[in-house]
C-alpha cells in the first residue's frame, strides 16, 4: 500500500443502474475527487443527490460503471471480488446511520468480528485490540453486554470501535449522527475527530447538518450526481 500521494483519487467516475436496459439510470456523472491522507471531509447535498452512491463506490461496496478509483495507490475497478473484499476490510472502516451491530454478539465481540473475519481464527491479540477500542469509546463497563441491550448512542460508539478495528486508512461515515440526540451526536463526532487527528485516518463524513459540516476540514457538495463545490 503506497504511503505517499493522495489516499483516494476518483477520475471521471460514472455510475449507472440497469446499464444497457431501457430504464438505465445514471446517478453519478463524471465525478472527480481527491482525498488527501488525514483529511476530514464532509459530504453534503440534498437527498437523492448521489451521496450514498458515491460513498458505496468509495467504500468498494459497488463498482463504477465508468472511470477509475484509486485507493491507497491501488486501482480498484479491475480487482476480483475477493481481492476487493479483502482490500475493503483492511483499508476502510464503515459507520452507518443505523449502527448495524450484530445482535447475536456482545459489544466486544462485535468489535472483534472484522479481526476474526480477516484472520480466520480467534487469538488473544484480537481480544486486547477490541478491548482497547471499547475502552477508547468509553464503554468498558458494557463490553460484555449483548449489542441489542445497549442504548442508541452506545451502539453507535461500538460501531465506531468496530470500524476502527482493522486500523483503516479511510473511515466512511454515512450520517452516523443523524439518528442520535445532540449530546450523543457530539460525542460520536468528537470521537471521529480524535481518530482523524491522532491516527491521521482520513474521514468522509456524509451529513445533512451544516454545523457539523462546518467543523470539517473540507466540504464536498453533491448535487444531481455531480460534485458542485469542493473545498
Amino acid at each position: 500500500m503506497a504511503d505517499s500521494g493522495p489516499l483516494l483519487v476518483l477520475t471521471d467516475v460514472h455510475k449507472s443502474y440497469n446499464p444497457g436496459q431501457p430504464n438505465e439510470t445514471e446517478v453519478l456523472h463524471g465525478i472527480n475527487l481527491t482525498l488527501q491522507r488525514g483529511e476530514f471531509c464532509a459530504v453534503v447535498g440534498p437527498s437523492g443527490s448521489g451521496k450514498s452512491t458515491l460513498l458505496n463506490l468509495v467504500g468498494l461496496l459497488d463498482r463504477p460503471s465508468k472511470g477509475t478509483l484509486i485507493l491507497a495507490g491501488q486501482e480498484t475497478t479491475t480487482l476480483a471480488d475477493t481481492d476487493l473484499t479483502r482490500l475493503r476490510g483492511r483499508t476502510i472502516g464503515f459507520v452507518f446511520q443505523y449502527h448495524h451491530l450484530l445482535t447475536a454478539f456482545t459489544a466486544l465481540e462485535n468489535v472483534m468480528l472484522p479481526l476474526l473475519g480477516d484472520a480466520g481464527f480467534p487469538n488473544a491479540a484480537m481480544v486486547e485490540r477490541a478491548a482497547a477500542l471499547i475502552d477508547s469509546v468509553g464503554l468498558t463497563a458494557w463490553r460484555d453486554q449483548p449489542a441489542g441491550q445497549l442504548s442508541g448512542g452506545q451502539q453507535q460508539r461500538v460501531a465506531l470501535a468496530r470500524a476502527l478495528a482493522m486500523n483503516p486508512v479511510l473511515l466512511l461515515a454515512d450520517e452516523p449522527t443523524g439518528n442520535l440526540d445532540t449530546v450523543s451526536a457530539d460525542a460520536v463526532f468528537a470521537l471521529l475527530r480524535k481518530v482523524n487527528q491522532e491516527q491521521r485516518t482520513s474521514v468522509l463524513f456524509v451529513t445533512h447538518n451544516p454545523q457539523i459540516a462546518a467543523r470539517c476540514d473540507k466540504t464536498i457538495e453533491v448535487v444531481d450526481g455531480r460534485v458542485v463545490t469542493s473545498g
Partner: protein, 433 residues
C-alpha cells in the same frame, strides 16, 4: 484517544453479561458466527431440530424394525431347514426317436409324467465328501426321508419320516433348544416327535409307536424326545429317527434321499448351490431359490421402506432449507455488514452451510435418542402372549452412524441454495435492507 464517557456515566449500571466474550482458539470464524446465529434464534433452531429429530427417529425406528423383522423371519425359517438341499434327479420319460435319416416317418408320442418314487442319491458318500471340500461349506448331512404311518391303539397319523445322523443334522437344525421333553438321543429304535403329534396320539417320552411305510417296512420305535418347531403343521407331521432305521423302513438300504448342506453365509447359499451343481452335476436347491416368493416380498418391503425414508429425508431437507431461507432474509442486513467489513463470499457461503450441517447433525443426535427410546418402548410394550420379546430389534452402531451422516449431509445439501443466495447478496442492497 481518550474516552468519552458522558453517556456511559449517565446510563444505569449494566446487568450481568449473558454471553461470554471469548471463543475457543480452534473455532474458525464461520463456526463462531454460525453457532451464534443458531443460538440467537433459539426457538426457530429448536423447532427445526425437533422436526429433523422426528424424521431421523422415524427412519431409524423403521429401519431397525424392518431389519429385525427380516432377520427374525430368515432366522426362524432357517432354524428348521438347511441352506442347500442336494436331491436325486427326478424321474423323466424320454420318447424313442426314429432314426435321423428316416425323413418319411411321422413321429408322435404321448408322454405320461412318471411317479416320483423315493430313491437314493447315486454315490452319495463320494458326493458328500466332494461337497464337503468346496469353499464356504460348513456341514453336509445325509438324510433318508419319506412318508410313513404311525399307529397307536385305534388311532393313526400320517407322518414324515426323516432318518438322520444326529451329530451332523443337529448342526443344521439345532434341536436342543426346541426340545420340550426327553432328549435328542437317537439310537436304533428311538424316535423324536412333535408336540402336536404327541398330543394327538396321547403319548409321552418312553412310549412306543408302531410305524409302517408304503414299501412294507414296519418297526416299533420308542419316543426319546418331543420337540416344538414353532409350527403346528410341522409339529404334527415331522419325526426324526436314526438314518439306519429310516433306510430300513423306507426301503433304501444304504441309501439317502437328500444331502442337507449348510454354508458360512446363508445369503450366499444360491452361489454355493450353483458351485455344487457346477462341480458335481447334481441338482442343488438353495433356500433362496426354494423361497423365491419370500425374497420377492422382502425386496418389495425394502423398496417401500427406502421410498418412505427418501420422502422423510426430503421433508427434513425442505424444513432445513425453509428455515435457512428465512434466516438469510432476516439476516440480510447483518450479512451486508459482514461483507462491508471484509468477509468474503466463500466465508458467507460456509457459515450458512455450517448452520445447515449443524441443524442436520443436531436433529440426528436428538433423533437417534428419540428412535432408541421408541424402540425401547416397542420392545417393552409389544410382546408375545407368553411375555417374551416379539422378535429381537437391534439399533446397531452402523445404523446410528448412517442416520447421523444422512441427516448431516441432508442439512448441508439443503443449506446450499440459501447459502448461495446469502453469498451472492449485494452488500449495498443488503445493508439498505
Amino acid at each position: 484517544m481518550s474516552a468519552d464517557t458522558t453517556q456511559a456515566k449517565a446510563s444505569p449500571a449494566p446487568p450481568q453479561p449473558r454471553v461470554a466474550s471469548t471463543w475457543p482458539r480452534w473455532q474458525p470464524f464461520e463456526w463462531i458466527v454460525a453457532l451464534r446465529f443458531l443460538l440467537e434464534g433459539r426457538m426457530q433452531t429448536a423447532f427445526i431440530i425437533m422436526g429433523v429429530a422426528i424424521g431421523v427417529a422415524v427412519i431409524l425406528f423403521m429401519s431397525a424394525l424392518l431389519a429385525g423383522l427380516q432377520t427374525n423371519i430368515v432366522r426362524r425359517g432357517l432354524l428348521g431347514q438347511a441352506h442347500i438341499q442336494v436331491l436325486p434327479p427326478k424321474a423323466v420319460v424320454r420318447p424313442l426317436h426314429e432314426a435321423a435319416n428316416s425323413s418319411q416317418a411321422v413321429q408322435g408320442a404321448i408322454l405320461q409324467t412318471p411317479e416320483q418314487r423315493v430313491k437314493s442319491i447315486d454315490q452319495w458318500q463320494a458326493l458328500a465328501a466332494q461337497i464337503r471340500g468346496l469353499p464356504n461349506v460348513v456341514v453336509v448331512s445325509p438324510s433318508a426321508a419319506g412318508a410313513g404311518l404311525v399307529l397307536r391303539g385305534g388311532s393313526n397319523r400320517s407322518i414324515n419320516l426323516q432318518g438322520i445322523e444326529p451329530a451332523l443334522y443337529f448342526r443344521i437344525v439345532t434341536m436342543d433348544d426346541k426340545l420340550v421333553a426327553g432328549s435328542t438321543r437317537l439310537a436304533g429304535t428311538d424316535i423324536l416327535i412333535g408336540t402336536e403329534l404327541a398330543s394327538d396320539l396321547g403319548v409321552r417320552v418312553g412310549d412306543k409307536l408302531h410305524i409302517t411305510t408304503a414299501t412294507g417296512g414296519d418297526n416299533t420305535l420308542t419316543i426319546s424326545g418331543i420337540f416344538d418347531l414353532g409350527n403346528k403343521g410341522a409339529n404334527a407331521r415331522s419325526t426324526f429317527l436314526s438314518l439306519r432305521t429310516a433306510q430300513s423302513l423306507l426301503g433304501l438300504p444304504g441309501g439317502v434321499s437328500v444331502l442337507d448342506v449348510n454354508v458360512t453365509d446363508p445369503y450366499q447359499a444360491e452361489v454355493v448351490a450353483q458351485a455344487i451343481t457346477a462341480a458335481t452335476g447334481v441338482v442343488a436347491d438353495s433356500w433362496i431359490k426354494v423361497n423365491a416368493q419370500f425374497f420377492v416380498a422382502i425386496n418389495a418391503q425394502k423398496s417401500s421402506s427406502a421410498l418412505i425414508r427418501a420422502f422423510v429425508a426430503l421433508s427434513v431437507a425442505m424444513g432445513i432449507a425453509s428455515v435457512l431461507v428465512v434466516s438469510v432474509v432476516q439476516r440480510s442486513r447483518e450479512i451486508g455488514i459482514l461483507r462491508a467489513m471484509g468477509v468474503t463470499r466463500p466465508q458467507v457461503l460456509r457459515l450458512f452451510l455450517i448452520q445447515g450441517g449443524l441443524l442436520g447433525l443436531g436433529g440426528a443426535v436428538a433423533g437417534s435418542a428419540l428412535g432408541a427410546a421408541a424402540l425401547f418402548a416397542w420392545r417393552l410394550l409389544v410382546r408375545n402372549d407368553d411375555g417374551t420379546e416379539l422378535f429381537p430389534i437391534v439399533l446397531t452402531p452402523a445404523l446410528l452412524a448412517s442416520g447421523l451422516v444422512l441427516a448431516t449431509v441432508t442439512g448441508l445439501l439443503a443449506a446450499f441454495a440459501p447459502a448461495l443466495r446469502a453469498a451472492r447478496l449485494d452488500p449495498v442492497v443488503a445493508i439498505r435492507g
